[in-house]
Symmetry: C2
Subunit: 184 residues, 2 copies
Amino acid sequence: MARLRDISIDRETILRAAFGLLDETGLDGITMRALAARLSVQAPALYWHVKDKAELIAMMAQDLYLRGREECRGSADARSWLLALGQGLRRVLTGHRDAGRLLAIARPLTPADAALAERMAAPLGVFGFSVARALEAQAAVLSLTLGWALYRENAAMAEHLLRMFDLDASYEKGLPLLVDGLVA
Amino acid sequence: MARLRDISIDRETILRAAFGLLDETGLDGITMRALAARLSVQAPALYWHVKDKAELIAMMAQDLYLRGREECRGSADARSWLLALGQGLRRVLTGHRDAGRLLAIARPLTPADAALAERMAAPLGVFGFSVARALEAQAAVLSLTLGWALYRENAAMAEHLLRMFDLDASYEKGLPLLVDGLVA
DNA sequence: CGACTTTACTTAACGGCGTTAAATTGTCAA
DNA sequence: TTGACAATTTAACGCCGTTAAGTAAAGTCG
């Protein structure tokens, strides 16, 4: 395991370094060379652990989604579950620079991995949702949240706009409107 | 005007060529060299008309937004105006490959141009909305629509998922839920 | 008409990017 | 001791956005 170097890198350390790089330099700052340098390694070494950059971005996206979903573990009904999903993902996305943009450019995962969306929505089944209805409701909440995150990232520069209305409050208001309709 | 070449290029022809290139090759296919080739010109010639690639993308984004808004010209009330805004933008975004991703990576326009969002939301004022409430409502509808477009672009490859529920119908259902709450 | 400026392009080049190929080195099993 | 294997290195390729410098046509003006 340990080789020339005291500690070697693996997918997990690469992933964490990538998020660190994202927060410090933004999405454009994520280059294979910069990421490698942060791990005290040459760029091609990364390709032993990761197929290509697109896979790395997909890994990061998946990590963000899963962290967002953890927020709705103890939800007692469909309404609170969907609210927690939206707010959880929102919290995760606001916690990383350019996180919305990252999700936007992330290539879809492998076909086998597309089942993730299905697994994610599964808890809704417990509350009596059909698979189709669960996927629908989840898609609506995730769409609103991702779109909102992008809006926020883009508006960050135009402070003038943000002084005219509270974007965060707008989300807090809009999400329940959508969710209430979805569970009705 | 006309010089060495019979017809010269300008911002408008560049913009149209860029959308053509987008539809044929996707967002990754939009390179300054490919765009120039499509106009029978060398790449650096583009920089006479456009500051850099980011400005080109911003131009395309603005064009998409404005085309989306044209849909809600004849709306009689706030509800139908917001519905038309969402559906109009949705129609425009589904009409171009990777249009959602393009909006997501487009850098915010110049500060002076940030007033565009304000101008866009202005018609809502006629229906009795305050500026803040109009911007809020518009942000919610645009967020849902952009997020939905991204969802759709990413899910396009995972046909398996799409066979389990109707994403378009999901949007048609979710948008009124949000809008009804916003105008209440 | 001829000199000068301006417009709109060309060619050439730079540095950085993602990625691949090949060589290299340390570790472990037989 | 040897040989397979894991994990990295060095070197390089082609493409990217972008800049610098040169150049030809068109407009301006004495």
